[in-house]
């Protein structure tokens, strides 16, 4: 919804929150249902109200547990029956500088201030550990914003007795915990409050009258920032950025002005702004964002512009370059198809409001940020949180390389008449084995990102995945596929729960970047092998239809399973006898974990 996209009008959202919610709930969209427990150190009512709006807009339908006023510590340490029954998918702790009780006093020695810091910090660490132990779910914790006055003036930030200094040190301890604990995320209230303006943010009347730790006008911005972490944790990030060229990546029109006439580089303020934007876009690649071009241009002109010696981006940085005279909405849909992602995972950046409007209207779910003037490009894309980083795996770093290799494979495929021959020519090698710690993060990430090749669409948080990994009641497999063009990384995960002589397949997913490579057969071969070793006679598969997973409706049938049940919603159950199974993969060389050690 346009009203909820950055840069939104907070005053409008505050005034219209009820009708906005009504409109969102009436749009008939299918949303991911998630239970969020909010533990507050101050009033949290409006924070939840706006958080709900932004999450609904991002495809998540939240249900909330809200602790009684300022009961964050009690709810963390002594969970009530109600909270336990609620069973949250995520816990958010909303504490602020108003909740710090152990500030140093002027007579404290350095050691005493350290002790106070330790006391303040350990209270929180104790809470986080207890929450993880109790609920096995991700935690989002605010860091601390700067206090609103400075007793020591400028020295408040550098003297160990200063409150600003204390807050800074406390934040560092929070960050260390975050670096060492997966599934623990910091909501950067320190950044948001300074960006909003600390003076207005911390207007004490809101605390003294309503016990809000910030002015209520700032809450939409605050909740939006928080919603970005949550949607990222639950796999709703965008994946690709499709960029226009003329007046988006450089000033001017390359077709009219010529390569020498476009504005990019260090010459003028305007050309520097475009250069800065190109640099920003290039670094998006480093966090795994796929870059493509979507421009009305002749292809040669587009490439010539991108080869401008003063530019930061080069044609090679883009996986797909659509420079033609087709309608842009069509180009966006085709780009998504070629990348094997949904159009709603694409962000379209174009300076032309008419093009933005067409794409917004024609391609449901695509994100179209405001690109009104070059100096705002970075801020508008950055603050929108499209690519909010929560789990940063090694795969993210390599994603662009992988998509590039995919494009090369497609070219090679065209030269083979027989598909089997083509598959053999790829020299595919897979590692298929039980989970190992180094891949756990990627495995979890994959379970939350895969929508199409996913029979049950079961999602796992990092903590849930950790407990599956610890348990001996499961047969677990991950699959990693390499071929002569490159390493695809971990692309498939299967989790089966042992139920006597039956293995219930809770999860079977595969990344769409390795579709039609027979990887699923290699996985099945290994699954049967491991099942037999555990004395299992029957594999039982489940298919639950969603709007996105039609491609695997017949997966178990193709595997040779027999359908044993089907209900009116199209949910099906399938069984396979392990005793009479014959191996199906003939094109991939399969190895186990020992091949990774060296």
């Amino acid at each position: 919804m346009k009203e909820l996209e950055y840069p939104f009008d907070s005053d409008y959202i505050i005034k219209k929150k009820k009708s906005i919610k009504r409109t969102l709930l009436a749009d008939g969209k299918n949303r991911l249902k998630k239970k969020i427990a909010v533990f507050g150190g101050s009033t949290t009512h409006d924070i939840i109200v706006y958080l709900e709006l932004f999450l609904l807009d991002q495809g998540i339908e939240p249900e909330f547990y809200e602790s009684e006023y300022s009961q964050y510590w009690q709810d963390s340490m002594f969970p009530s029956e109600e909270l336990l029954n609620f069973s949250p998918d995520l816990v958010y702790i909303h504490t602020t500088s108003r909740n710090i009780v152990n500030y140093p006093s002027m007579s404290d020695s350095k050691e005493q201030s350290e002790e106070k810091l330790e006391r303040e910090y350990s209270k929180f660490e104790q809470m986080w550990k207890k929450i993880t132990e109790t609920h096995h779910c991700p935690i989002i914790q605010n860091n601390f914003e700067l206090p609103f006055y400075r007793l020591l003036g400028n020295k408040d930030c550098s003297d160990y007795r200063g409150r600003s200094n204390f807050v800074g040190r406390l934040n560092q301890l929070f960050y260390e915990y975050s670096q060492n604990n997966d599934g623990f995320y910091i909501n950067d209230i320190n950044f948001i409050s300074s960006s909003y303006g600390l003076r207005r943010w911390s207007d004490p009347s809101y605390w003294n009258m309503y016990k809000y730790a910030m002015c209520t006008e700032a809450i939409p911005e605050f909740s939006f920032n928080l919603s970005n972490i949550i949607k990222s944790v639950f796999g709703k990030n965008k994946k690709a950025l499709a960029l226009d060229l003329d007046n988006t990546l450089w000033g001017g029109v390359v077709g009219d002005d010529g390569v020498d006439g476009i504005q990019i580089g260090q010459e003028t303020g305007v050309s520097q702004s475009y250069y800065e934007f190109q640099n920003y876009v290039k670094t998006l690649k480093d966090i795994g964002v796929i870059l493509t071009v979507c421009s009305k241009n002749d292809h040669e002109n587009a490439v010539a512009g991108l080869e401008h010696p003063e530019g930061a981006l080069k044609p090679d940085d883009f996986i797909i370059i659509k420079a033609n005279w087709e309608n842009k909405d069509r180009n966006i849909v085709e780009t998504a198809n070629e990348l094997n992602i949904f159009p709603d995972a694409v962000v379209f950046a174009d300076d032309n409001p008419a093009e933005r409007e067409i794409v917004r209207a024609q391609v449901p779910g695509v994100a179209v940020p405001e690109m009104d003037s070059v100096e705002n490009y970075i801020i508008n894309i950055d603050r929108s949180g499209f690519f909010e980083v929560t789990n940063f795996s090694a795969d993210d770093l390599k994603r662009n390389e992988m998509y590039k290799a995919n494009a090369e494979r497609a070219a090679q495929m065209a030269s083979f008449s027989d598909y089997g021959e083509y598959l053999l020519s790829l020299d595919m090698k897979a590692v298929i084995d039980d989970f190992i710690p180094v891949y756990l993060q990627r495995i979890t990430q994959l379970t939350n990102k895969s929508n199409q090749f996913n029979v049950t669409t079961k999602r796992y948080t990092q903590t849930e995945m950790d407990s599956v990994f610890q348990s001996d009641e499961y047969v677990r497999l991950y699959g990693k596929l390499t071929d002569k063009f490159g390493d695809n990384g971990v692309v498939s995960v299967v989790i089966g729960k042992i139920n006597g002589e039956i293995l219930d397949i809770d999860l079977w997913i595969m990344s769409c970047r390795v579709l039609k490579r027979n990887m699923e057969f290699a996985m099945l071969d290994r699954l049967v092998e491991r099942a037999l070793a555990r004395g299992i006679k029957t594999l039982r598969g489940y298919y639950y239809p969603t709007p996105k997973n039609k491609m695997v409706r017949e997966l178990f049938k193709d595997f040779g399973f027999t359908k044993t049940d089907e209900d009116t919603n199209g949910n099906t159950v399938w069984e396979l006898d392990t005793g009479s199974y014959e191996k199906k993969n003939t094109v991939i060389t399969v190895e186990d974990n020992s091949s990774i050690a060296n």
């Binding site: 005053d11 505050i14 005034k15 009820k18 009708s19 409006d46 209520t216 006008e217």
Partner: protein, 80 residues
Amino acid sequence: MDSKVIYQRLNKVFRDVFDDDDITVNDKTTANDIEDWDSLEHITLMAAVQKEFKVKFSMGEIASMKNVGEMVHIIEKRAK
């Protein structure tokens, strides 16, 4: 500013905040007359009214307002 105009604009704010087009306020209206007007919604209402009339109520003013009439009185004095 004319109090008639103030009431017109105020009605619009009330209708937006409480999402109810049937609301019409007068000088005697209090929180008891509008179902959703509780202490939490009061905060939203104050924010929306202050934006509409580009005024900032002091803490003392907010605490002492007994009904819509008193709110209008303050707006009359200060609004631009």
